[in-house]
């Protein structure tokens, strides 16, 4: 038997605390038989020990001691699943506002967000915040599981009421694909199998929707080919190659490229990958390339095909601030963008996003978990694309100079809904 390789979908759960994200993922994994016998036994034993019934499905992903004691998710759990048609990497994210930074961690590499809502509670502020962050991070497809349908007696009108509110928000945020599904994660209704309680619903189950989703891989982008240089490799007998991971469009042998920020034109003469020489490399492949001309390219430089990115020391960006202390204009930080680290400063704070209205309002500071529009000034020139064109060359993080903690996720440019 030769196992076929399958198409991969990365998804992250989003939504407010206690709406049932972890229970839904637990149910999905159990009902698709992704758990080994000993793992299922361990979940059952932990449930009994804590007096929470025969099988607390949230314990499948809530693996930390504190999570099980408190019955909440603190940090992202990554689970790996495969069905006959697809492989999945599932990031089960925390809903609590205090752990928004961890939700952003999980969503930053996702193609699709699985939104979980409690049918009785509607769209809470934290749900709005998560959806807004997911949209900013470039997630274009969402599947909305309207959960706890058993608690409202499978009421179609309760489902429709929530859906109206959710669809308005999803439309404002510009999601391209929105599929909503009434479910009971606890009872396993409409998670893997279609529910018999919901005769008024004729759409897919959550699993069917996940298997059918065409959410693209996150590394596919609308820019030219980009190769941020990570490392210079000296070849036997002289000469150098330049190592990094391709993003944007495909890079090919013979492609004319520009070394930035130096702005030197040259040509790709060879491409080598983990499995040897190749003529072309798609996004997500680690390669090293030879160049036609002698250059002093090094880490932090970038090779690009047209249309070329922008070389800048001052640019507009959208920030999700995760620092424990509020930040104001003038703050000095360290910035990491592709393979380059440089001193940076928030030159101007031009607005703060009001999560309730999604309007940009005036503000003098960004508090923890705030989203703001800023101008960033850097000591060294960066080579950037707009985040909407390229999730690699359009993204950066800000780092506290004292603690080295990552305190912000940054996206070059401004999302269309802001």
């Amino acid at each position: 038997m030769k196992l076929a390789t399958k198409d991969l979908l990365r998804l992250a759960t989003v939504g407010s605390v206690d709406d049932g994200k972890s229970t839904l993922i637990g149910r999905l994994l159990v009902d698709t038989r992704q758990l080994f016998d000993d793992q299922l036994d361990a979940v059952a034993a932990a449930s009994e020990k804590r007096g929470v019934g025969d099988l607390d499905l949230s314990f499948v992903t809530d693996g930390l001691r504190a999570e099980r004691e408190q019955g909440i998710t603190i940090d992202v759990a990554y689970r790996y699943a495969a069905t006959p048609t697809r492989k999945f990497i599932i990031a089960d994210c925390p809903g609590h506002v205090q752990y928004t930074r961890n939700m952003a961690t999980g969503a930053s590499t996702a193609d699709l967000a699985l939104v979980v809502l409690n049918v009785a509670h509607g769209v809470k502020e934290q749900t709005r915040r998560h959806l807004c962050i997911a949209a900013l991070l470039g997630v274009r497809s969402i599947i909305v599981a309207v959960n706890k349908m058993d608690e409202v007696n499978w009421s179609e009108s309760a489902y429709i009421a929530i859906l109206d509110e959710l669809n308005t928000l999803a439309h404002e945020l510009g999601f391209e694909s929105v599929i909503s599904i009434p479910v009971s994660a606890l009872l396993g209704e409409n998670v893997v199998e279609r529910s018999s309680h919901l005769d008024w619903y004729d759409g897919p189950s959550v699993l069917q929707a996940l298997e059918g989703s065409n959410a693209g891989s996150w590394s596919h982008a609308g820019s030219g080919a980009r190769l941020p240089i990570q490392w210079v490799l000296r070849q036997n007998g002289g000469g150098r190659t330049y190592a990094g991971m391709v993003n944007g469009s495909t890079l090919r042998e013979g492609d004319p490229v520009t070394l930035l920020p130096a702005n030197i034109e040259t040509t790709i003469t060879s491409i080598n990958s983990g499995s040897g020489p190749r003529h072309a490399a798609t996004a997500g492949l680690s390669i090293d390339v030879g160049l036609a001309d002698e250059t002093d390219a090094g880490r932090g430089d970038l090779l690009a095909t047209a249309p070329l990115p922008t070389v800048t020391k001052d640019f507009e960006a959208t920030l999700c601030w995760f620092g424990e202390q509020p930040v104001r204009a003038g703050q000095r930080l360290r910035l990491k963008h592709t393979t380059k680290v440089t001193p940076a400063r928030i030159r101007e704070l031009s607005g703060v996003v009001d999560i309730e209205t999604l309007r940009v309002v005036d503000g003098s500071q960004l508090a923890t978990n705030d989203i703001g529009l800023v101008s960033i000034q850097t000591a060294d020139a960066l080579v950037v694309d707009d985040y909407r064109d390229n999730r690699v060359t359009g993204s950066f993080v800000l780092i506290d100079e004292v603690t080295n903690a990552t305190v912000a996720a940054g996206m070059v440019g401004r999302a269309s809904f802001l």
Binding site: M1, L3, T5, L8, F36, D37, D38, Q39, A42, A45, A46, K49, T61, G63, L64, R65, A66, R68, I74, D75, V76, A77, Y78, R79, Y80, N102, A104, T105, S108, T109, Q230, W231, L233, R234, N236, A243, G244, M245, S273, G274, S275, T282, G284, L285, S286, R299, F322, R334, K336, T339, V341, R391, V392, F396, V397, I399, N404, A405, T406, A409
Partner: protein
């Protein structure tokens, strides 16, 4: 054509290069097991044709399977790597940890040996072959996982890790653990080993061996496992799914003697690799988290 193994390989190589570029003095932790064998193989690819820009460190409990030590030395020689051995026996001799006796478990003692070696050599980053699908605490851990000046992991205060912007800056005395194989599953590891035609310790392949049944595991009779009076020694055809200390690692009944047969076996397994074979995970509900907090692998 790019398949999922190419993407996993590329991601791991990206992480290896990123950490080496950002950290002053990395080290690669090497147990001789399949995951660290894959990690070493990827590290060699990441920096070829140059030699490895960091040493390889084995935390040696002194309770190894001989086949694993033999493989360790061959692998290190093949890659021209520099081997550092951090010895648990030396930690015992120097009074850093209590002596559990000649047959006592040394798994947890490794943490002290590991942290002492990191301090002594001044390593600021340690690559490990841990995977998120192995354990529920590992499922929560970042790819670059911060350790404080005491070597501790704080699962409530992990740094955000956005996109693939791995940032590895630490203050003196602190260090990072870096896990390039985080997103690989056990099946991915075996498919990759098969594709790359990699060498592995012989104990991974089916062979006949004397075993006793203890604590729900099949333990290999040898220098670190003496049959107890009530135990019956059986000669069975077995292989090992993981490699740990000889007195804590169980064998599984298997006739899989080739990589292809192992891939087939893993694809159909209904017990997890650690659940099937690891005594060190059975101490408590959160055995892995508790050890990781102290600074374990």
């Amino acid at each position: 054509m790019t398949d999922h193994l190419d993407l996993l390989e590329s991601h791991a190589i990206f992480i290896l290069r990123e950490v080496v570029a950002e950290c002053e003095k990395p080290v690669l932790l090497f147990s001789g097991g399949k995951d660290s064998a894959v990690l070493l193989h990827l590290a060699a690819k990441a920096f070829a044709p140059q030699s490895l820009p960091f040493p390889v460190m084995h935390v040696d409990t002194g309770q190894n399977f001989p086949e694993v030590l033999e493989f360790r030395d061959q692998a290190v020689a093949r890659h021209g790597a520099r081997l550092v051995v951090a010895s648990v026996q030396e930690s015992i001799d120097r009074g850093r940890v209590a002596d559990p006796g000649p047959l006592g478990p040394r798994n947890r003692l490794q943490t002290v040996t590991l942290l002492d070696a990191i301090t002594e050599h001044g390593f600021d980053a340690a690559f490990g072959g841990a995977r998120r699908d192995e354990d529920k605490a590992r499922a929560k851990e970042r790819i670059l996982s911060f350790r404080d000046a005491f070597g501790q992991w704080d699962p409530r205060q992990q740094r955000p890790e956005l996109w693939q912007l791995y940032q590895g800056r630490v203050n003196p005395g602190e260090h990072l653990r870096a896990f390039p194989l985080s997103d690989w599953t056990e099946l991915d590891i075996w498919q990759y080993i098969e594709r790359e035609e990699m060498a592995l310790p012989a104990i991974y392949f089916a062979h006949e061996r004397d075993v006793v049944r203890r604590d729900g595991m099949l333990l290999a009779v040898g220098p670190f496992v003496e049959p107890r009076s009530e135990e019956v020694v059986e000669r069975l055809t077995v292989r090992f799914r993981t490699v740990g200390d000889a007195n804590l690692t169980g064998a599984v009944l298997s006739s899989a003697s080739t990589l292809a047969a192992i891939v087939d076996e893993i694809a159909l397994a209904n017990v997890s690799e650690r659940g099937a074979t690891r005594g060190d995970d059975k101490f408590s509900e959160t055995a892995m988290e508790d050890r990781k907090r102290e600074g374990y692998f």
